[in-house]
Subunit: 233 residues, 2 copies
């Protein structure tokens, strides 16, 4: 990568969307990887996926933050063990316009805030995030309007000379298109982790697993990770 | 306080602006207090001021979060000991339109994000923050436009049924007016802490101390906290 390329902070959760987003960012930017652990059920496994992807791309600037307050705040199946992770039809919430219990209240604002603070200090010109709007779980903080407003917030809330674009390269794609794009760009999808429930092999039944399984099936590409039970639809 | 009043999350740093903001919020809301430690120099002293104010108002719902990543990110005199806290004319930056070195990049977005997540889970209808725009240090994330945009972000980024107003009751006031309002509402200004540098007695020389000293002097009210050296202007 040429040193003259601008720098970008990429939010890398360790899932397939952030994996492909990193591959897109790399086409035009030098990479700095940011990961947030927030007491979610599969925290260790996601961190492992992050490290593996950062190694894969030879990323030197890495920041891993702990946002422990999400557990104290609760209100989500991902951070409160008393709330079950639903197993069922993927994207059912999208059709019903209901927000699923895996929604972590206002979560992406925390991630983006850390990314923008870090970007401002290290001189990055963009923050990439792998949000997906339609073909996803139906979280309110994954819609294009949300990122447009966040971009405005960055313009009014940072130093006048700071220019940081919020970039969402896969937001309008179907999940199967994201898989195909990842394959095309050589993204290490085998290193990514999507399951909300388990850390050894994926459950195949949670919303996130089902969306992933369906995406690979639609793309006609073999999903290289292992599942306890895979429900092809 | 009547149980029928709506609930509000108040961001209480422990300084005089948040102290008076809490007093304003209490007029119309049941209080939930939120405090963030972020590795700033006077972290322990500010936390002590927060606890004392929460006790003063008998606040039961309290959340204290640690945002340790600010130290890792750095870029501010408040979180990086290699960058000096300037001692000089208060508000000089405002006149010159320069952002002072005590600016913590994009800090208030982190605080507001935690406040909104918590507000959504506990059913609070408002988040109060004691930002001051003109008569202050000149931070970009203290201007009215910033809070307008953050309000939009909350509307697009939370559950459709969630209604959380971002309220900045002292944003347009002079610091001396804030002192007077605090006195009028019985706010415990004696419990507040403003100094950026020290935790035992205030330095009297940093930007924050100078703004405070000037505010009390202009208001004609005795500042009850103790200073190492007080420079009345």
């Amino acid at each position: 990568m040429a040193a003259s390329l601008p720098k970008a902070v990429v939010l890398v959760s360790g899932g397939m969307d952030s994996c492909v987003t990193a591959a897109v960012a790399r086409e035009s930017h030098r990479l700095a990887f940011l990961h947030a652990s927030y007491g979610q059920r599969t925290e260790r496994r996601e961190r492992q996926a992050f490290d593996a992807m950062a190694d894969f791309y030879g990323v030197e600037q890495r920041l891993v933050v702990r946002l422990d307050h999400f557990r104290a705040i609760g209100g989500s199946a991902l951070t409160d063990e008393r709330i079950a992770v639903p197993e069922g039809e993927p994207g059912a919430a999208v059709q019903s316009r209901e927000i699923p219990p895996t929604y972590v209240p206002f979560r992406n604002a925390h991630f983006l805030s850390v990314a923008v603070s870090w970007a401002e200090v290290i001189g990055a010109k963009a923050v990439f995030i792998g949000a997906v709007a339609e073909d996803s779980s139906g979280y309110p903080d994954c819609r294009p309007a949300y990122y447009d407003v966040f971009g405005q917030l960055v313009r009014v809330g940072t130093r006048p000379e700071t220019q940081i674009a919020i970039v969402t390269p896969v937001i309008a794609m179907r999940k199967s298109e994201i898989v195909r794009l990842g394959r095309q760009l050589g993204a290490p999808l085998e290193l990514s982790w999507s399951c909300y429930q388990f850390e050894d092999s994926a459950c195949g039944a949670c919303d996130s697993c089902r969306l992933r399984v369906r995406a690979f099936a639609e793309a006609g590409i073999h999903d290289p990770i292992s599942y306890r039970a895979r429900i092809e639809r």
